[in-house]
């Protein structure tokens, strides 16, 4: 996003972070907030839903007179959990594997890299669909499935970072003074690799959230409860779009801004730390 070298993260960065913080807080404290019940049916006798946005229903209601604002907030809970768990799993498993591969090289590296490539060549959505269709559609399963899909991209980045760092002087120096492999990995490599992975984490969360939406559109998202993908799906029929577009567009806007914020923040962190790298 930048051609010029910026030593600061920028105000827009903080705006993005602010948005993410707001969404996260709303999601976490949703049950305590004075918003409507996302599962309740606010039917008004004699008037058929969906009700368009108004003072009572900020985002309007869906075809069953459920409040879209509340549902969108509660949908955030699911999306954020999925994003977080998926990327955490990816970083834990993929990151570890990648670092090990990058550090140890040789046959271990070849094997781990091969596994990464297999997963990367596999059309990821197909894998996600396969697993969710064959197992179940609980929140945990879906989050972990997306986590499994995150392993390869994260791992590949971790490996690349490790490779580039492993040649550095401070590693050679550490080895010269007799530090063992484990110590080197944990003390020297890990802190440096974590940074680019941190940027990737934000981007990865965005991907996971979007992936959940994709699964929802195929009817394969979490079984119970609103998710952003499901909300958009319910509002995306031709009739809905024509007569009551707010059903889909409320969640679409929130989803979009969140993904945008994650992308932007991740991008800024990456260029910021990359620049620092060059400065070394």
């Amino acid at each position: 996003m930048t051609d010029t070298i910026e030593k600061r993260l920028g105000t827009l960065f903080w705006v993005a972070v602010g948005w993410l913080a707001v969404i996260s807080l709303l999601a976490i404290f949703a049950p305590l907030l004075p918003i409507k019940d996302p599962d309740a049916y606010y039917l008004v006798k004699g008037v058929r839903p969906p009700y368009s946005p108004s003072g009572t229903h900020w985002f309007g209601t869906d075809q069953d007179a459920r409040d879209m604002f509340a549902r969108t907030i509660y949908g955030a809970r699911v999306s954020l959990v999925i994003g977080f768990v998926a990327i955490a799993f990816g970083m834990l498993v993929g990151g570890t594997a990648g670092i090990i591969a990058g550090y140890l090289r040789g046959r271990t590296d070849k094997l781990i890299s091969f596994i990464f490539i297999v997963f990367l060549s596999f059309p990821s959505l197909v894998l996600a669909i396969l697993i969710t269709a064959l197992l179940d559609r609980g929140l945990v399963t879906i989050a972990l499935t997306l986590g499994v899909l995150a392993v390869a991209p994260v791992g590949r980045l971790a490996r690349a970072s490790t490779l580039s760092f492993a040649e550095r002087e401070f590693v050679t120096a550490a080895r010269a003074i007799g530090a063992g492999d484990r110590r080197i990995i944990i003390r020297e490599l890990l802190p440096n690799v974590v940074v680019p992975m941190g940027a990737l984490a934000l981007l990865g969360m965005a991907v996971a959230i979007v992936a959940e939406g994709g699964l929802a559109f195929l009817g394969l998202s979490v079984e119970k409860g609103p998710t952003w993908g499901k909300l958009i799906l319910f509002g995306a029929g031709s009739r809905e779009l024509e007569k009551s577009p707010w059903i889909a567009f409320g969640p679409i806007i929130i989803l979009f801004i969140t993904v945008l914020a994650l992308n932007y923040a991740g991008d800024r962190i990456r260029s910021y730390f990359d620049v620092k790298e060059i400065g070394l």
Binding site: L43, V47, Y51, L134, G138, L233
Partner: protein
């Protein structure tokens, strides 16, 4: 949640549901089987912010007119030519009446290429069609069917007793289709005997007053025996049916279009249309758009929102029929918790039927209390379908859990009650936006006394799970056969198979009810029969195995220039019932 032992996906059960002249898209999945398919509401024309505000305009339909058919068209004007393009709810896997799953869409196509041995006339009585006559013996346990002479299948094979027997036995041998026939006929060769080249003697297990009615649907379709044999060897032929019907199979591209062309030598007379093309369009809105754009000439639908659009539009001829099929929630009485009537009653009382009728029915589909609509002679006005009564539900749940809360729910692997609420699994077929909305609506109301787990399955898998009794409660569609005794198969003790497939889906056996049903089946005095059926219906009501929502509204809609829509006649010259649960015939249709 999904253990491989209990959830096995599965293919062709729908066939059995469609036998005995019934259309069944199991559990309402038909119009709604794809994602992003189904929304369903008229929007309020103004935002309704406070209840005190004036309701915005009258956008409730009130009561839709039902049972609307069309008057005869003047045959003299009929012209030859043209292709009718018809929009279907779904595609089918194949068109072999002895082995394919034929729901409403399949039956529409089958109606073009096959004739049935009997058809319903305008008074809902069966009348011979491919058959020439049906003659019973004194005890109504042996029926002699005489076929018409000189009819050949599209491939030249003659229609004779032999051919009919090949069909009959093939159907009996199919694990699904056979299940539906099983209660009526003895298991051995005496069920159907060829007396001579054109006569068959059917022997049935109990007296049947109107035998022909079972032969008006899939069971009565006769396919070429040559073709049946060939299809057994090469199953791909199931997609290229050969019958005696007014149209001959031309070509098929699965999920895209199936085309039939005029049978120049149809025994039933002149066929005006050059061809009929069937287009499966799963999304109800899309199907309507195609009709309104002129890309389709006709369609059928159960989607309430689509129906609202069609009924309002004077440019289209719309046949409405809600006397077939009911939509309901159904419980499995073979395993806990619904083996206990208190649990069933609790679920019924907690069900949000009013909201369902309002939000899903949209004023199009009428609320149902039983299998019959209020105009039917068999309607029992004393019956009540309980619902919207959470207090009673909670009390019943408390009673049940107190006494039986520690037992196991074999489906979920948990105790029957947790934290004072009954654990159940709700199954339905999807992916479908409407079905998911229904599930969420039910869950929200049932949560006063139940912990509901969701299980959405592809349609075939859903049907299988229901058939083998691996469900607690599901959403379903059934009943409404024109001749009510053909619906017995879903209710009899005889169709429960504890170890295998059961067509009595709730697995609820009531011998008194059986006795009444058998008695009614033998009666030809319709008024006397109605009294018996009302008693049987009361027993169904007291069993609390079904929570009726609505009568399914089937609509067939035709563009203005399509004529002769309801002019199809039986071989004896009688005007047929125009549509049966969304299926109609094109033998006398022409395009202006």
């Amino acid at each position: 949640m999904r253990s491989s032992s209990s959830h096995r996906p599965f293919r062709r059960l729908g066939a059995v549901l469609a036998t005995a002249g019934l259309a069944l898209a199991a559990c309402g999945g038909s119009d709604d089987s794809k994602p992003a398919a189904e929304p369903a509401a008229e929007p309020a024309s103004e935002p309704a912010s406070e209840p005190a505000e004036e309701p915005a305009g009258d956008d409730t339909l009130g009561e839709t007119e039902t049972d609307v058919t069309l008057p005869p068209d003047d045959d003299a004007d009929s012209i030859f030519g043209g292709t009718l393009r018809y929009g279907l709810e779904a595609d089918v896997n194949g068109l072999n009446p002895t082995s394919s799953a034929l729901a409403a869409s399949g039956l529409m196509m089958a109606n073009a290429v096959y004739d049935t041995l009997a058809v319903y006339d305008e008074n809902d009585v069966s009348t011979p069609h491919l058959a020439e006559s049906f003659t019973p013996n004194d005890t109504l346990t042996t029926w002699t069917m005489k076929l018409r002479e000189g009819i050949t299948f599209h491939d030249g094979t003659p229609l004779n007793a032999e051919a009919v027997l090949v069909n009959f036995n093939a159907q009996r041998g199919d694990p699904l289709v056979g299940l539906a026939i099983m209660p009526f006929f003895p298991a051995d060769d005496t069920a159907a005997i060829a007396v001579d080249d054109l006569t068959i003697e059917f022997n049935v297990n109990f007296p049947i007053a109107d035998f022909g009615s079972i032969l008006t649907g899939q069971l009565g379709m006769v396919a070429s025996p040559t073709w049946i044999a060939a299809a057994k060897e090469d199953p791909t032929l199931n997609q290229a049916p050969v019958g005696t019907g007014p149209f001959v199979f031309d070509s098929r591209s699965e999920d895209s279009v199936t085309r039939f062309v005029r049978n120049e030598e149809w025994w039933g007379g002149d066929v005006y249309l050059d061809a009929v093309e069937f287009y499966p369009v799963t999304d109800g809105d899309d199907r309507n758009s195609l009709l309104f754009n002129g890309d389709l000439d006709a369609l059928h639908t159960t989607n309430q929102a689509s129906i609202l659009d069609l009924v309002d539009n004077a440019d289209y001829q719309t046949i409405i029929d809600d006397t077939g099929e009911e939509s309901y929630a159904m419980m499995n009485t073979a395993i806990p918790p619904f083996d206990d009537i208190r649990a069933r009653q609790a679920l019924a009382h907690a069900t949000p039927i009013e909201e369902y009728v309002e939000l899903i029915g949209l004023g199009v589909s009428r609320r149902a209390t039983q299998r019959f609509t209020p105009e039917s002679i068999n309607y029992n006005p004393d019956l009540v379908q309980v619902g919207n009564d959470p207090d009673t539900a909670v009390a019943l749940v408390a009673e049940y859990c107190e006494e039986r809360g520690e037992e196991t729910n074999p489906l979920l692997g948990t105790t029957t009650c947790t934290d004072g609420k009954i654990n159940v699994e709700l199954q339905w077929s999807g992916p479908s936006v409407v079905q998911t909305r229904i599930a969420e609506l039910l869950d929200e109301a049932w949560s006063v006394g139940f912990n509901v787990t969701f299980q959405e399955l592809p349609q075939d898998a859903h049907v299988l799970q229901t058939a083998i009794g691996q469900y607690n409660v599901n959403t379903w569609r059934q009943f409404g056969a024109v001749d009510v005794w053909t619906d017995n198969v879903w209710l009899l003790c005889a169709t429960i198979n504890p170890a295998g497939l059961s067509l009595n889906w709730p697995r609820n056996c009531d011998e008194d009810r059986d006795a009444l049903l058998f008695q009614a089946t033998a009666m030809s005095d319709l008024e006397a029969r109605a009294e018996v059926l009302k008693q049987a219906e009361a027993l169904i009501n007291e069993a609390f195995t079904y929570v009726f929502f609505t009568h399914t509204t089937w609509v067939n809609s035709f563009a203005d220039n399509v004529r002769g829509v309801c002019d199809h006649t039986s071989a004896g010259g009688e005007r047929m019932r125009c549509a049966v649960s969304g299926r109609t015939w094109f033998s006398k249709v022409w395009i202006e």
